[in-house]
């Protein structure tokens, strides 16, 4: 077994330098679209469009849409379970769980602060919505940490999803035939 620490350092750096929620409401770019399309492909979600949420209010509405795709959530969960099995083949389970807890504890406060700041700049004073954003970002940190520990390729959906967050976007969820991104 090799040491888990270098992977953790890489995760911590990636989380610390990400532009959490900084591009929310900014014009959509070709690179953003490309990452969103890569995420759809990597998760094997079939033919989906990329749709852009207008603002924080729109994000709140979309993420509470009862027609959201559980298949998308389940696809991420399958990836997570597969990565966990890979990680446990490389490192002892306790080391993996400790590493993930450490990452989550650090990331949680950081992304909550960034979400609150970005929402405040947009004139949003909704403690629940900023926590929703922080929860989504924290989950992405957990997922990318797992991908790094399991040494998954950069094309893995969790790496691609993290790149969207790192570029200041918030990948929301799949509703109907669209992946929504803020």
């Amino acid at each position: 077994m090799t040491a888990i620490d270098p992977h953790l350092d890489e995760v911590r750096d990636a989380i610390a330098t990400a532009s959490w929620f900084a591009a929310v409401g900014e014009p959509w770019t070709a690179a953003d679209r490309s990452d969103a399309e890569s995420y759809i492909l990597a998760l094997r979600l079939g033919a989906l469009h990329v749709a852009v949420a207008r603002d924080w209010h729109d994000a709140a509405r979309i993420t509470q849409d009862t027609g959201w795709s559980t298949a998308w959530w389940d696809a991420e969960e399958r990836q997570r379970h597969a990565l966990m099995a890979d990680a446990e083949r490389r490192f002892d389970r306790h080391a993996v769980m400790t590493a993930l807890s450490t990452v989550m504890a650090t990331a949680g406060e950081l992304v909550h602060g960034r979400a609150a700041l970005a929402a405040t700049r947009a004139g949003i004073a909704d403690p629940a919505l900023t926590r929703v954003a922080a929860g989504a970002a924290t989950m992405a940190c957990h997922q990318v940490a797992l991908a790094m520990i399991a040494q998954a390729p950069q094309t893995h959906p969790f790496h691609v999803k993290f790149r969207l967050f790192a570029s200041g976007r918030w990948p929301l969820c799949v509703v109907g035939d669209s992946l929504y991104v803020l």
């Binding site: 509470q64 949680g108 629940a128 926590r131 929703v132 954003a133 922080a134 929860g135 924290t138 989950m139």
Partner: protein, 237 residues
């Protein structure tokens, strides 16, 4: 109860000079909070992410789980600073969590009930510490309180959603009927010696019975707001 000279312990360094009974009482409280915050996050908040009905609710629950875990970390850090070994601040065979955590969580409505009522019970416990004679613990309670209030509000917000339909309201009422009986015991026995010691030293203010009575009133009030009721509770003789 024997009279103790009221003391105020403003720093961790000062605690070393405090009477042994005071130090032990502080340690008991810190250990209890550290264990129960961790256990609550593990048995309720983390599993509830899978039960949540929308991505919004899932991510909000994820953040709440992180905050509950964060409370455990804060209490554990304080515990380490006052010399409590880490092993005493995590659940183990000898340090069982409270009975309210023995409820087997299976549905979203149960989780909403837990946030609505168990987090209200937690607020009462933290409220008592807001005046604690050991100031590092008082300060920790002050830092924790806004998040605890948000968690109870989470319970209210989702309760308000559920009662919009007769089916949702019935499921929530059923969850309350099954979970509520676990809660009164959360406040401890009427003749608790620990509580007597806590009050003697100004670490806590109220008796267990006073807190329980306050909780029952507030729980009735909050459930009534949503057209819900609490099952009958009979205090132990």
């Amino acid at each position: 109860m024997s009279e103790a000279q009221p003391i105020v312990v403003k720093t961790i360094a000062e605690l070393k000079e405090a009477p042994e009974e005071f130090r032990e009482a502080v340690a008991k409280l810190v250990i209890s909070h550290a264990i129960n915050e961790l256990y609550g996050a593990q048995v309720f908040d983390e599993p509830a992410i899978a039960l949540a009905p929308t991505p919004y609710a899932k991510w909000l629950t994820c953040r709440v789980a992180m905050e509950e875990y964060g409370h455990h970390v804060r209490f554990k850090q304080l515990g380490e600073q006052i010399g409590i070994p880490e092993a005493r601040m995590v659940p183990s065979d000898s340090k069982r969590p409270l009975s309210i955590f023995e409820f087997p969580l299976k549905t979203w409505e149960e989780f909403v009930t837990i946030k609505l009522l168990a987090d209200l019970a937690e607020i009462l416990q933290v409220e008592d510490l807001l005046h604690c004679a050991f100031h590092p613990l008082r300060n920790l309670a002050r830092a924790t309180m806004p998040e605890e209030r948000f968690h109870a509000q989470f319970g209210e917000d989702f309760a308000a959603e559920l009662v919009k339909t007769p089916e949702g309201k019935a499921r929530l009422q059923d969850a309350i009927n099954r979970y509520f009986p676990y809660l009164p015991a959360f406040f401890g026995g009427s003749k608790s010696r620990n509580n007597e010691t806590f009050r003697k030293w100004g670490i806590k203010l109220r008796t267990n019975d006073d807190m329980r009575a306050d909780f029952l009133n507030r729980a009735r009030e909050v459930t009534a707001k949503y057209g819900l009721t609490l099952p009958e509770y009979q205090a132990a003789a």
